[in-house]
Subunit: 206 residues, 2 copies
Amino acid sequence: MPSPPQSLVVLDVEGVLTPEVWIAVAERTGIDFLRRTTRDEPDYDVLMKGRIAALDAAGITMTTIMEVVEGLMPLPGARRFLEELQSRVPVVLLSDTFEQFGRPLMAELGWPLLLCHTLVVEGDRLADYRLRVNDQKARSVEAFRALNYRVVAVGDSYNDMTMLAAADSGILFRAPDNVIAEHPQYPCCTAYEDLLDLIDGCILNF
Amino acid sequence: MPSPPQSLVVLDVEGVLTPEVWIAVAERTGIDFLRRTTRDEPDYDVLMKGRIAALDAAGITMTTIMEVVEGLMPLPGARRFLEELQSRVPVVLLSDTFEQFGRPLMAELGWPLLLCHTLVVEGDRLADYRLRVNDQKARSVEAFRALNYRVVAVGDSYNDMTMLAAADSGILFRAPDNVIAEHPQYPCCTAYEDLLDLIDGCILNF
């Protein structure tokens, strides 16, 4: 009897387990520019440089930004979902957020492994950002597959699509209608219970 | 001002965070053969096949083995140490144990990410084992380095040495005297507080 292969699940974070950090900063500071996302500005570097310029123009310090981030909570049910999933299969969180933003939210989620990027902070000013590696979500999935894991990837937006494509199975969670329409190959759902079922189904098919 | 590189810590599990599972099974079943380790039998396949034959000869079922494993607790202070470390840096547990043995211990440790192997169970019999990948500890370190993390590796025994060699920095924790003597290049300690300090020192030097 062959033994089933070993599986690993990678999850996007913002929109899947936590609120969108930049939206929260926009609401707290009243800077509408910070509501722009990669959907409005597909060039990530232009977007981030614009965010930093907008924060500078308004005199928003890193202390203020971190107060917003530290006030955020995971989405309702997220921690329970994550713990249930971790009891079944190894889980890695893959996000294009930054370690400084991720840390308070990971504390609320019981310190799951989060692979992400980092901000450059000078004094109390958000000065710049550093991508640890380009397309890190897809590259991380490739790395876990090379380590002989079958990978299920869960995401919600355009910047997750290379990750889903690199995985053995992909699932859309609370994705916008256009993302769902453009990627009919992926099952989709909006409730954590259904997500657990979809992940189980993927793993059983490996 | 250059931003510091992003760091990640990999930890061996048995002897570092938890007791040795096979020693516990040996004590519970009275099968002395199960006390043999890779120090007594360097060929891992011969060792594992011997363990399985010894369990079969004594009629020890998977249910009994799992009762032993589920009765194990992390080493004193291990969970607190792990949570403190996770609040500072991403942490991955690398072990040559098996998912079935790891799961109850990971529950006690708050579900950190554990990369390991799997047992083949037929009915209630431990029938075989499957290494997910050869030399997985070193290969995992190489994968995280390729994803642009600087890696600190912590281990205690011979099967950790390729992992320590692959990492940017290696630390010996509660290692036997011969391992320490043969690897003078690595700092060593026996208390979790000192281990936190050594890890911090490695990261600051990156």
